[in-house]
């Protein structure tokens, strides 16, 4: 547990100090959300209708943008091979790193999403479901993203390839995320089936992605 905390804290400190972390992800999120109304025109009713979907897509892209930061720097400076020699299984290390990524990307983006939703004329009553669904769904995005990062360790500037690999896997999260944020806005219960499926997706990603990512990292060094 102490080891796990050591690595989470290190990644949080690095994300805070190095820049390119929280600020960049939120900035990118803001820019995408700002560009949408410019592209679609000032149709307030239309914007309001597509707001949850647009925010979710912006969230996916922001997470993808930052996910190659999780493993690539550690691979380049040799930290990752030291982590292979640690007493903690690599799978747990990957979980910790993914969790730190979620804390520095998923959580701040989820909390700011309703604020940026104002730009898209997001209905005020949709704010809470949006926060809830993005908070519950974004762990799946981080874990899947780290899996993509582990597969592209060797490729410098592999961000584009990660997107290509991982975006299809984001589809279920996107579908149920949007459904959870808009259906509950329409007066249904907050904890509807979509939200539960979203939670299931996150939990499944928590279990499966670190296994796959650790296997990919080991295979990479072999």
């Amino acid at each position: 547990m102490k080891i796990a905390w050591a690595i989470v804290r290190r990644d949080l400190v690095l994300a805070y100090r190095q820049g390119g972390g929280i600020g960049t992800a939120i900035g990118f999120f803001l820019v995408v959300v700002t560009l949408l109304p410019l592209g679609l025109g000032p149709d307030i009713a239309l914007l309001s209708r597509i707001a949850p979907g647009a925010l979710w897509i912006a969230l996916l892209l922001s997470v993808l943008l930052s996910v190659d930061r999780v493993l690539q720097p550690d691979h380049e400076d040799g930290s990752l091979e030291q982590m292979l020699l640690a007493p903690m299984p690599l799978e747990l290390t990957v979980i910790c790193k993914s969790f730190a990524h979620w804390l520095t990307t998923g959580v701040p983006l989820a909390l700011t999403a309703p604020l940026f939703g104002l730009l898209l004329n997001l209905a005020p009553e949709a704010a809470l479901p949006l926060i809830l669904s993005t908070l519950i769904g974004s762990p799946a995005l981080s874990f899947l993203g780290v899996l993509g990062a582990s597969l592209t360790l060797d490729i410098r500037r592999g961000g584009l390839l990660i997107s290509l690999l991982i975006l299809p896997l984001y589809v279920p999260v996107l579908i149920f995320g949007v459904s959870a944020s808009s259906s509950s806005g329409a007066g249904l219960t907050l904890l509807g089936p979509s939200l539960l499926i979203l939670l299931a997706l996150s939990l499944a990603a928590l279990v499966l992605c670190p296994l796959a990512a650790a296997a990919a990292i080991r295979a990479h060094y072999r």
């Binding site: 102490k2 050591a6 100090r17 020699l85 640690a86 072999r222």
Partner: protein
């Protein structure tokens, strides 16, 4: 390993007929060696003969294409990789963290009690609060080597440990290595230069090629 830094169990690392293939090319084959506690092994040989690969095989970072590697005398479930320090070409230093934070992280991560004296081993204590990004190449090397002092592990794998080190740090490294062997540790190192440490064994790789 006991709390006082001595190794409880006498260990013996035995390699038999190791074969290494990298990218379809056979780098070496039929490599045998044995290193026991209180012993050290120097790997020599021209560039590209597999010295680093051999160290990485021992650290179980890469798999050998053949042969066997075993550690006799170990009575717990730790793997060889979890018992060794591998100091390779990459220093595993985060430039955004301070010197002290770097060593404290590896201490915590490798599962050791924080050792206050780790930075003293290579004279980095005065720079404890400095971001590692501001260190010179030699100082970064010293920081990487400080891991050896921060976490007690029986087997040290040192790949060209003296690159970039000044004479005082080289002497500090030799002192550290001597102390490690004296308490029952094992060292396998590669070096092209004489680092002033007397190794018990040496192994020449790529011997068939004329120097």
């Amino acid at each position: 390993m006991n709390g006082d830094g001595t190794m409880a169990q006498p260990l013996r690392l035995v390699a038999e007929g190791l074969v290494c293939e990298r990218g379809g090319r056979r780098v070496f084959e039929g490599v045998d060696f044995a290193v026991a506690s209180r012993e050290s092994l120097l790997l020599t040989g021209p560039n590209g003969t597999g010295k680093t690969s051999l160290l990485r095989i021992v650290a179980s970072l890469i798999a050998p294409a053949g042969g066997s590697l075993r550690l006799d005398g170990a009575d717990d479930a730790l793997t060889i990789g979890q018992r060794c320090h591998y100091v390779g070409h990459a220093n595993a230093i985060k430039t955004a963290l301070s010197v002290e934070e770097n060593i404290a992280f590896w201490g915590a991560f490798m599962g050791a009690a924080p050792a206050g004296g780790a930075l003293d081993a290579f004279g980095l204590a005065p720079h404890a609060g400095v971001p590692a990004g501001l260190l010179s190449a030699g100082q970064r090397r010293r920081l990487a080597l400080s891991r050896l002092a921060a976490v007690a592990r029986p087997l040290w794998l040192l790949d060209e440990p003296t690159v970039g080190l000044d004479t005082a740090s080289q002497a500090a490294l030799v002192d550290l290595m001597s102390a490690h062997v004296a308490v029952g540790g094992m060292i396998i190192a590669t070096s092209h230069v004489d680092i002033g440490f007397s190794f018990n064994h040496s192994l020449k790789l790529g011997g068939e090629r004329a120097p």
